[in-house]
């Protein structure tokens, strides 16, 4: 089959690879009908996530049709149409039973590698480095899906692929980021990053009852999308002072909760500040650039919540711990526990509360994946989200 393979920093290629086989009795094999490029794929692409290996198949947002099942799979049949959550979860360990699926205790066979880097190991993820399991991803014609009874959700009505595909990652991720904020009537939420996850964090904050949502980015087309589709108030950090804008928009209180939907490759309006962290990154003194996170912490109102759904890989420098501690902030974070949100979010899509397909700007064939990566990374052609059809 054809699959989009990681070859090294800034290099992916669609290659011929073997078809996946059932390796565990709870596996299913899916013929991929739609798959997408995630912002996280760009972190892998740009070489910021350790333990990638030449030849790894990328992609953790995908859906398709079940073509094979292991003998212990009970809920799926060949021919079922499913969306696959990006975290692999066994559904049997204490953590899964508590609903924290992305921290599954059993789904990462390379846990010892993650323990060396992270202390304890999270669960496995498709196409997302060897320390997170070494599972091939879904930017391919076929994909093996472990624990097929726990992850994939069946789509039994005629909802088009493009409306349900993002249940795999970015819609629940944005939703969890908003849910972390414990939104109560009158709350103002600020979201750093108007990429696809930021768009869904904005939309979800409104769904959960936020009074106003402020979105911070530097690309006008992204800010406009958040304004036009979800009613967010845009702040372009290259044009205005973020702190001033937030104080003004909240009459001096500061946002009740701040969502970091940017992560480790953030940019900064000041070239000096950007260069400082970029230099530390290049010299391996820090792995992640935490501009958005620093701002989110400093600008949050006293006693508020900082919700981190942007991806970090290793270490950050100059984290404003004093601001967090003295002002009683709550920090919440995590890879999304997608399985927890599939059913309720599918219901919201079905009854028309949200149509996630609004973020799609580019539709390409799988063979154009390398072009999709550069277009998305360089924000060419007002790129927001690339969907690939194998």
């Amino acid at each position: 089959m054809r699959a989009n393979c990681w070859l090294g920093r800034g290099e992916v290629e669609v290659r011929q690879v073997p078809d996946p086989q059932i390796l565990n009795s709870h596996d299913a094999v899916i013929r991929v009908s739609k798959t997408a490029i995630c912002g996280t794929d760009l972190h892998l692409y740009d070489g910021f996530v350790p333990t990638m290996m030449k030849g790894d198949v990328l992609g953790h947002e995908f859906m398709g049709e079940v073509v094979d099942v292991g003998h212990d799979v009970e809920t799926l049949r060949i021919g079922d149409r499913v969306v696959v959550p990006f975290p692999i979860a066994c559904g049997r360990c204490n953590t899964c039973l508590a609903g924290d699926y992305s921290l599954c205790e059993n789904s990462n066979p390379n846990a010892s590698l993650a323990e060396k880097i992270l202390g304890h190991a999270p669960g496995g993820i498709f196409g997302y480095s060897h320390m997170l399991g070494g599972f091939p991803g879904g930017q391919a014609e076929y994909a093996r899906v472990p624990f097929a009874d726990i992850g994939p959700i069946k789509i039994e009505d005629d909802l088009p692929d493009e409306r349900v595909l993002f249940l795999s990652d970015i819609l629940p991720t944005g939703y969890m980021g908003a849910e972390f904020c414990d939104i109560t009537p009158g709350d103002v939420i600020a979201v750093w990053g108007a990429g696809p996850v930021g768009q869904f964090a904005v939309a979800s904050a409104f769904l959960l009852g936020a009074e106003r949502v402020i979105v911070i980015d530097r690309f006008p087309y992204r800010l406009e999308m958040a304004r036009d589709n979800s009613g967010a108030e845009p702040v372009n950090y290259e044009e205005s002072d973020v702190r001033e804008a937030l104080l003004e928009l909240t009459a001096g209180r500061g946002p009740d909760a701040c969502i970091d939907a940017v992560g480790l490759e953030a940019h900064h309006f000041s070239h000096a500040a950007h260069s400082y962290d970029r230099a530390k990154q290049v010299t391996r003194q820090e792995s992640d650039r935490p501009f958005a996170l620093r701002e989110a912490v400093r600008n949050c109102r006293n006693g508020g919540v900082v919700s981190v759904i942007g991806v970090y890989g290793g270490f950050v420098d100059k984290f404003p711990m004093g601001s967090l501690m003295n002002r009683g902030l709550t920090l919440r974070s995590g890879q999304c526990h997608v399985q927890r949100y599939l059913r309720p979010l599918l219901d919201r899509i079905r009854n028309g509360e949200i149509d996630p397909s609004f973020v799609i700007t580019h539709r390409l064939g799988l063979d154009d994946a390398p072009h999709g990566f550069t277009t998305f990374r360089d924000k060419e052609d007002e790129c927001m989200k690339v969907v690939l059809t194998p």
Binding site: M1, A3, C5, Q16, V17, P18, D19, P20, Q21, L23, N24, S25, H26, M53, K54, G55, D56, V57, D72, C90, R92, C93, N94, L97, E105, N106, S107, N108, P109, N110, A111, S112, L113, E115, K116, G124, G127, H130, G133, G134, F135, P136, G137, R144, P146, F147
Partner: protein, 331 residues
């Protein structure tokens, strides 16, 4: 049964503190030098013979003056090297002789430092002594590597202890029953080749490098249903060892805490080297991965496999050469 002595050597694992590493000490054994050790042995004999036979040549090569003192010193160093080489190649403890070579290297270096210092005073060039220093440093590094490797293998009798624990969401009796079935331990304990049980004695087998088998017999020495199983090697075993697995309910309905202690006394010689290759530098890590697979087996019914780790979890040190994350087989 020759277990009386060895039994006394095994302490009660429970007496250990969390985080304890293995301990060393005890009887001696014999090993042959490996390829690097032999090469260094022969190199020492060759260079020593030159120093002894043609001290003026050597002195000139390193830039020393051709005085009677330097000739005598060079001869003494040469004698030391020959003795070291013979010791490495011929003795039963090449590791000790290799450390002797390291000491000789340090003497060489200090002599060269003196030569260089004198040439600086007299204004002669430093190229020759520096070149000599570089070569000696290179040889010293090799000597240290070989010496460390050999002395590790020569310290049999040192008791290796490994402990690991995990929490499994199953009742203690399920886990106890599964573990008690020794014959099925290799399903998740990958360093074991097979375990067979005949009337109260279990026969354990590890497959070492080049198909070499390491075998031992063991008997259960304590058996408390749903709580604890302790076993110990008996009779003529390739490796004397003992193990204990404990099951106790985890707090707050979290399942069962499983703790395993293993102790073994690596044998001398080739069997010891083979065992070390199987168990690696960190037997505790190996045990931790055994327990990870045991947990997967008991919670999900099978060992979890990814394309990068198709046989299941492994210690981090063995994950460096894994398969890429793409489907197995041919395109």
């Amino acid at each position: 049964m020759s277990t009386q002595n060895s039994q006394q050597q095994f302490r009660d694992p429970q007496a250990r503190q969390p985080g304890d590493q293995g301990e060393r000490g005890g009887a001696r054994g014999a090993v042959r030098p490996d390829a690097l050790g032999s090469a260094l042995g022969w190199f020492g004999i060759g260079l020593g013979a030159t120093e002894l036979g043609a001290p003026d040549l050597v002195a000139r090569a390193i830039g020393a003056d051709d005085s009677a003192v330097s000739r005598t010193l060079t001869r003494i160093f040469g004698g030391h090297k020959i003795a070291g080489g013979v010791g490495v190649l011929g003795s039963e403890q090449p590791g000790r002789w290799l450390w002797g070579r390291v000491a000789g290297d340090l003497l060489d270096l200090s002599a060269l430092a003196l030569v260089a210092a004198r040439r600086r005073v007299t204004g002669a060039g430093l190229a020759r002594p520096l070149l000599a220093v570089g070569s000696v440093v290179g040889v010293t590094v090799l000597d240290v590597i070989a010496a460390r490797r050999h002395s590790r293998a020569e310290a049999p009798g040192h008791l290796v202890h490994a402990r690991s624990s995990t929490t499994i969401r199953r009742a203690p009796q399920d886990l106890y029953r599964r573990w008690h079935d020794f014959e099925s331990l290799p399903t998740f304990m990958y360093h074991l080749d097979s375990v067979r049980t005949t009337d109260g004695t279990s026969h354990w087998k590890i497959r070492g490098p080049a198909g070499r088998k390491i075998k031992w017999d063991a008997r259960i020495v304590e058996d408390r249903p749903d709580e604890l199983i302790a076993w110990r090697s008996v009779g003529r075993s390739d490796v004397r060892n003992a193990g204990t697995v404990r099951f106790r309910p985890a707090p707050g309905g979290r399942g069962t805490e499983v703790q395993v202690d293993l102790e073994y006394q690596p044998p001398a010689g080739a069997a010891g080297v083979a065992l070390a290759k199987v168990l690696g530098e960190e037997p505790g890590q190996l045990l931790a991965e055994d327990l990870r697979r045991f947990k997967q087996l008991m919670e999900t019914g099978e060992v979890v496999r990814s394309e990068a780790s198709p046989t299941g979890s492994r210690p981090a040190s063995r994950l460096l050469r894994q398969h890429p994350a793409r489907p197995l087989g041919r395109a």
